[in-house]
Symmetry: D2
Subunit: 346 residues, 4 copies
């Protein structure tokens, strides 16, 4: 039984970790960290857990936690994990960081986009980018995993095989992404009020969203060269779900069957990636509550572009589900243990 | 391994049966019956099941099915199960009917409220009303279970202990219920279109909804006398969930602690009934995707009324989850097997 | 041209006043008061008003305002209007208070339910309760109007004719009300976040909501005796709209035609009250954006109860629209001037 | 007073025409055409119009109508207007067609994208494309106006000034559009059910949506050359609103101030186009219920792309509002008469 500690257990991603781990046969949560709710019953903060979780919230003492648990999940704002982590902690326990602190290898890129100083750059090289489908072997041996962002998971997996195979012109890549509102977190802010979000759609962070360099770095590894792309997120009036619609020029004449074969080559054996039949468009609702990525595409011969589409549940494959998938890999468990969540419809 | 056949597998309740049974370790679906989609891949009708269910839809041949499976779920419109069922079928297999055909003991009440002739009244006496928390022992021995309605499950369980203990004046009982739109089914009807339901709330079936006599019959058994009550359903712009707000005059002077003790007496050991702490109001979102009933109450000394509130997921405890709970009982399984679904929030 | 000042122009009710008055041919807003946004452009706070309103927000200086405008609307939290108002102000300008400060005639009831001291009880007697359909003549002569609450407007108008005619047993009256989320205001509070409200319904303020004594007082005047009733509000995942479902025992044998005739007697000439044909149930969407109250009812002979239903837009007839209706009456304008808003569907 | 006839008055666009024209001081609806609801009271089909519209629905007799009214609006499926129109009708009355029948000048393009034969190609040359901001002078003299599509109105106006000035590389133009569900019409179809649309987002019509050639034709006129672009529509869980996010490479080095100046050059005097301050992103909610187009943009120096964003209410500026704007122009009225609709928020 893997003993788990969560720092930031009362944000939406933290709560989703609790939901998933509660149903995980091989893991047990020992620590529900939440600075904001110390000593309050966890089930008073998230009443879905009434009579399921009996524990109270604890503070964010990572040092102490390191001695108690086998793995620490940090589902906290940027900068916190980097400010707490040290060699002593990593010598005692594994860490899966759901924030952005260890996702970007280049500390200057981090500091430019996040506008904060990085407090633990010495671990950047060691940290493994936890996109399981791509870095599986490295994750298995990691002490510190940087769990990918929600938009990035969806954006990267949707384009990865074609980037890797050189089938798309990376300079032409445009990602137009749409997210449910849980991605904005549980902070009590005016723009996240029901009446502001409901019956509304808007773009935000245009040409400046922090997930941009993360997508660029990873797709750059795939393409074997530096990638600069356009990424535009949108806020959609729904709780969960991300849809990424991606546009790129094809580098050669290919058929949809050939493209399908390329996707299948990379994802055929991936339990959590479902490549839809040609012509089918993914919908976020069809993956809700699950760890799946659904991928579809369409070639537009008029413009010589391919339109790729990917859908995930931002809190599962985009956060907590992927974190548990990483945990399973790091501890030699079956990769899908505790993650066989059937999407809920409607 | 229980072999399961579903008739009506492509309605919302049928689809929820598929979702739940797919994760049930002791059951296996052998037959996805759906007259409307015969020979189509089930996963083309419900794309959440892509790469999870490989089967195609079959017809509604109950005779044939009886020889193939251990239990048949009928998630079909009123009248269908009664028109197909017979002694031969029941001698070979168990039947759990999610329609109203066997819920009301009095055939004339059925025919009056449902406006159709009952084709199999000979099984009414044998049929067990499958509200597990109340009829557990009878369910265990049943061949034919009438799975309760969604509104009725929520309405009955919320008031049952107080009715049973004589603490509320049954003539004063008023149930004001609110339901998500999945309760209206997947039929392509104008009133169920997104733009008609969204940003809207309305009452419907006022003083005439078919779940009324079902609630009256069951609460009548509890109270030990004939009950006539007001029941008003409302349509709410959300997918899932039923909230029942119930008003009744108290028959004696009691405190909230005493009421809480009565609820605890009946539900303390019930895994799927969660009696909230006094003062807390149930919310449908906190039970979404799960088999829980959350119950709260408040005494209003100014009016000498008690306001009882109950919340369920209409597709789980109000339909498919309860049906599986019944199946577990009928086959001697652990009652909660396959039903330890943690509510999803948000 | 009536010169108007608004204190609290950046709450949802204040913003709706701005929307309505912007289209009012006989009124002009001179003062957009908002303590929170002083000196900011109003159109930066409410971007729907971009290029429509050019003004910036001002402070809450009621004294100064009294010399500048013909009427002051206070769309502010409880207690503010009472703390600012005085004889000098009322000698110079008219005041329409959208808060609860002057709705209840009995100061002790106010202080009991609102838990704050009343700072201007000397104006309680003079203040006119601005439910236009009932107090029209008094409103015309008023200096100070207490604009009714949203739930109360809907609840009172729905039951008023039957209460007045003695057709319902007032002790049996139960009001189960459902409101859109704009009623909770624009404050950045966790329970009002999109992800907490969406896909959810709950009761709140059970047996303790502050609109209860207001409804009781007004229906008490209608019935000619003290009324104590049950009132339960619910939060619905939609922006606008209130639906009140009201239950009461009939005091005599009447037909639906007779009830319809009673409603027509009171409301036939009321432009903003639409009594639906017997059997029709009001829906909030059908009045959205307008000043209408839609009323329907159904007699249940089984229980001898009548179920009355009323629907309004909480921000219009439940707040800003009614306030403008009061203004029109106070200034001798046509009552519907600027209020001929056609409901928007969908 | 302009006498108006509507064919297709019970679709969502037709109903919006009724809502707007009801408040138009210079027009009067004489004919509510609706094949599906002949002889039914219009207010029974759209209950928001109860006590506002007393008329019943009529058939689609365009010949007869031509003698009765000054202008006919056809808010009908593709092909109907073309199959009914003739010289005799156009000699008696003006026609504003909200379908696609007369939007594309090249009949073969129409037949290729719409898969139906064009029944009245002889009027294609005469028909004026009714995008008022661009074709104002032609509209004033037109007998037959082709009212633009909803996606197209938003897409074209957002890019028009930059296309016209040659500031964007038209071959690089990608339009990612998101629409509320009223755009799908009031037909009772499974994909438009509440439970299928709610909590969901998907792309549809990828690389094949019929609005594509319409956008290409109009932006081609602006750019002075043939344009081929990518256009992807998405379905969003909200009633109203379209947001178009448009990506294009800049043809020269320009600042945001220079781009703003270009937009202002074209739109400064346009009442219904609001160019937001640099950096601001349009949101559909801020234009809801109004005839506005809100436009924002952002230059991304990293990719040398400009991201342009436009928001409209698809039923107003995207359909009925623009149709009325065309009517005003055709009859010499003030262009904004009856269209000074203040956006409703929330």
């Amino acid at each position: 039984m893997i003993k788990v500690g969560i720092i930031g257990a009362t944000g939406y991603a933290g709560a989703e970790l609790v939901r998933i781990l509660t149903g995980h046969p091989g893991a047990q949560i020992e620590w529900y960290g939440s600075r904001s709710y110390i000593d309050q019953k966890y089930a008073d903060v998230y009443r879905n857990m009434f009579q399921i979780v009996d524990a109270s919230c604890m503070d964010d003492n990572m040092e102490k936690l390191a001695s108690l648990v086998d793995v620490i999940f940090t589902a906290t704002p940027q900068g916190l994990c980097a400010s707490l982590i040290n060699e002593d902690i990593l010598s005692k326990t594994k860490v899966i960081d759901l924030s952005a602190d260890f996702r970007l290898k280049d500390v200057s890129v981090y500091e430019e986009w996040y506008k904060i100083e990085h407090k633990a750059p010495q671990f950047l090289e060691e940290a493994v980018y936890g996109l399981c489908e791509i870095n599986r072997e490295k994750v298995k041996k990691a002490r510190l995993v940087a769990n990918p962002g929600c938009y990035t998971t969806c954006s990267i997996l949707t384009a990865y095989p074609l980037a890797k195979e050189g089938l798309i012109d990376m300079d032409s890549l445009i990602i137009d992404a749409k997210s449910g509102t849980s991605g904005a977190g549980r902070g009590a802010k005016l723009p996240n009020l029901f009446c502001e979000v409901n019956e509304n759609i808007k773009a935000y962070g245009v040409a400046s969203h922090r997930h941009t360099p993360e997508i660029e770095e990873q797709l750059g590894y795939a393409a074997g060269k530096k990638v600069t792309l356009s990424f535009t997120p949108h806020l959609v009036p729904m709780n969960r779900g991300i849809l990424a619609t991606e546009y790129a020029c094809l580098t050669e004449k290919v058929t949809e069957e050939e493209i399908k074969a390329v996707y299948d080559k990379y994802y055929r054996d991936e339990k959590f990636v479902r490549v839809l039949d040609p012509g089918a468009c993914p919908e976020t609702k069809w993956v809700e509550g699950s760890n799946y990525v659904d991928i579809g595409f369409k070639i537009d011969p008029r413009t010589n572009r391919i339109i790729m589409m990917g859908a995930i549940d931002n809190l599962v494959k985009g956060a907590a589900g992927q974190a548990v998938q990483n945990m399973n890999l790091m501890f030699g468990k079956r990769e899908s243990e505790g993650l066989e969540l059937v999407p809920m419809f409607p």
